[in-house]
C-alpha cells in the first residue's frame, strides 16, 4: 500500500505521462469519423478496429518512459537494494499505470462505443474487453521497453508489437462473436487466462532484464 501511495505521489506531478496517452486515445477516436463518410453504418464497420488499435497505441505511449527516469536518476538501484522484492515493485508500477491510464481509456472506449453504435449492451461488453486488453498491452510494452531501456521507445515497440498481435486477433474475433450473438464467453476466459499468466510472469522477467541493465 505504501508503495502504491509513493508511486501515485510521483505520477501526480508528472501529468504528462498519464494524461498524454489518454489524450492520444481521445484524439484517435475523434479523428476516426473524420476520415470516412459519416453515416452510422459506415462508422460502425471500422469502429472496433480503430478502438483496439487506439488502445494499443495509447498503451505504447503510456509505457514509453516507464523506467527511463528511474534508471537515469539512480532510483532503480535504490529499489533494487531495498527489502521489497523488485519484481513486486515492477508489477505494482504496471498496475498503477493501468489504474491511471487503462481504466480511463476503457471508460472512454465505452462512451465512444455507445455514441457510435447506440447499443448499450454491446458497449457495456466492450468494457471488460478493453480493460483486460489494455492491461495485457501495458505488460507487453513494459517488457519491450525494459529491454530497450534508455535506447528509445521505438526499439521497444518493434520488439513488443508482434507479441500484441494475438491479443488483437482475439479482440477482433470476440467483437464478431458478440455482433453475431454467438457465445463470446470463451474469449473473455481466454483473455482472462492470458492476463493472469502475464501479470505474474512479465514482472519477473522484467525485473531480471532491469537487473541486467543495471549491471
Amino acid at each position: 500500500m505504501k508503495y502504491l501511495r509513493l508511486e501515485v505521489l510521483k505520477l501526480r506531478k508528472k501529468t504528462r505521462s498519464w494524461l498524454g496517452p489518454i489524450l492520444v486515445f481521445w484524439l484517435i477516436m475523434l479523428a476516426y469519423p473524420l476520415t470516412i463518410e459519416v453515416s452510422p453504418k459506415n462508422l460502425e464497420i471500422g469502429f472496433f478496429s480503430v478502438l483496439w488499435i487506439a488502445i494499443l497505441l495509447s498503451m505504447m505511449f503510456a509505457t514509453e518512459d516507464i523506467f527511463t527516469e528511474d534508471y537515469n536518476d539512480g532510483y532503480l538501484e535504490q529499489s533494487l537494494i531495498s527489502e521489497t522484492s523488485f519484481s513486486y515493485l515492477v508489477g505494482l508500477r504496471v498496475l498503477i499505470h493501468w489504474l491511471l491510464i487503462g481504466i480511463p481509456i476503457s471508460l472512454l472506449g465505452f462512451v465512444f462505443s455507445l455514441g457510435t453504435t447506440e447499443n448499450l449492451s454491446l458497449s457495456l461488453l466492450i468494457l471488460p474487453f478493453a480493460m483486460m486488453s489494455s492491461y495485457i498491452f501495458l505488460n507487453l510494452f513494459v517488457l519491450g521497453n525494459s529491454l530497450s531501456l534508455n535506447k528509445g521507445s521505438v526499439l521497444g515497440a518493434i520488439i513488443t508489437l508482434p507479441m500484441a498481435l494475438p491479443v488483437l486477433i482475439v479482440l477482433g474475433k470476440s467483437i464478431t462473436a458478440i455482433q453475431l450473438e454467438i457465445n463470446y464467453s470463451g474469449f473473455i476466459f481466454l483473455l482472462l487466462g492470458s492476463l493472469s499468466i502475464i501479470i505474474v510472469t512479465i514482472p519477473i522477467v522484467v525485473s531480471f532484464i532491469i537487473k541486467a541493465h543495471l549491471e
Binding site: 517488457l143 529491454l147 530497450s148 535506447k151 526499439l155 518493434i158 520488439i159 508489437l161 508482434p162 507479441m163 498481435l165 494475438p166 486477433i169 482475439v170 477482433g172 474475433k173 522477467v205 531480471f208 532484464i209 541486467a212 541493465h213 549491471e215
Partner: protein, 228 residues
C-alpha cells in the same frame, strides 16, 4: 581450430555441391507440375528457407537458454551469430514465397497465416539484431538478447496459432514425417537434396559467423593472437 577449419570447408563445399546438383536436377530434369506449371520450381529455394527460418530461431532460443542458465559464453556468441543468418533465411523465404505467389495466387502478398507469421519472425530477427547492436557492453547485450530470444520463442507458437486461427489460405505443408508425401517422387528427391544442401550452407555460414564473433570478442586472448 584447424580441424574445425577443415570440417567447415568440407561442409560448405559438399553442401554447395549437393545443393547445386539438386537444383539442376529439380530445374531441368523433372516434369512440369500439372496445375502450377513451371513456377513451382521455386520450391527448391522456398521450402528449405522457410523450414530453416524457424529452426534457426529455435536453436537460437535454445542457445539463449543455455547462456542464461549455465552462463556458457560460447552460447551467447552462437545466439548473436545466428540472428543475422536467420534474418537472411527468413527474408529469402518471404521473397521467394512472394515470387511464387504471383503466378499461383495472382498476388505477391496475402495476409494469410503462414506468411504473416513468417513476416513477424523476420521482424523479431531484426528486433534482436538491433537490440544487440544498441549496447556497447557486450555482456549486457548478450543477456538482454537471450531474454528476448526466449520470450520470443514462447511467443512464436502463440502468434502462429492465433494467426492461423484468424485465417488460412496457404496450402498445408507438403512433407511431413508421418503422412505419405503429397508430392510426386520425381520432385521429392531433388527437394530433399536441396534441403540438405541448403541446410549445410546455412550451417557453414553459422560457423563462419561464430568464428567472427569469437575473434571479435576474444581478440585479447593469447591463443587468438597466435592463431592470427
Amino acid at each position: 581450430m584447424f580441424q574445425v577449419e577443415r570440417a567447415y570447408k568440407f561442409i560448405l563445399y559438399s553442401s554447395l555441391i549437393i545443393y547445386i546438383v539438386s537444383l539442376i536436377w529439380g530445374l531441368l530434369f523433372t516434369q512440369e507440375d500439372f496445375v502450377q506449371g513451371n513456377s513451382y520450381r521455386i520450391i527448391y529455394l522456398h521450402v528449405p528457407a522457410s523450414f530453416l527460418s524457424q529452426s534457426l530461431y529455435i536453436s537460437m532460443a535454445v542457445a539463449s537458454f543455455v547462456y542464461i542458465v549455465w552462463r556458457v559464453k560460447l552460447a551467447a556468441y552462437l545466439v548473436i551469430s545466428i540472428a543475422p543468418i536467420g534474418a537472411l533465411t527468413t527474408f529469402i523465404a518471404l521473397t521467394s514465397g512472394s515470387i511464387w505467389g504471383i503466378p499461383t495466387w495472382g498476388t505477391w502478398w496475402q495476409w494469410d497465416a503462414r506468411i504473416t507469421s513468417t513476416l513477424i519472425l523476420f521482424i523479431m530477427y531484426l528486433g534482436l539484431i538491433s537490440l544487440h547492436s544498441s549496447f556497447s557492453n557486450y555482456e549486457k547485450a548478450d543477456k538482454l538478447l537471450s531474454w528476448l530470444a526466449i520470450v520470443g520463442a514462447i511467443n512464436i507458437p502463440i502468434i502462429k496459432k492465433s494467426v492461423d486461427w484468424w485465417s488460412t489460405l496457404h496450402q498445408s505443408a507438403s512433407i511431413t514425417l508421418t503422412d505419405k508425401p503429397s508430392i510426386d517422387p520425381s520432385m521429392l528427391y531433388p527437394l530433399i537434396g536441396s534441403m540438405i544442401g541448403f541446410f549445410g550452407i546455412i550451417i557453414s555460414l553459422v560457423i563462419i559467423s561464430s568464428k567472427y564473433q569469437i575473434f571479435l570478442r576474444e581478440k585479447n586472448k593469447s591463443w587468438i593472437k597466435e592463431y592470427v
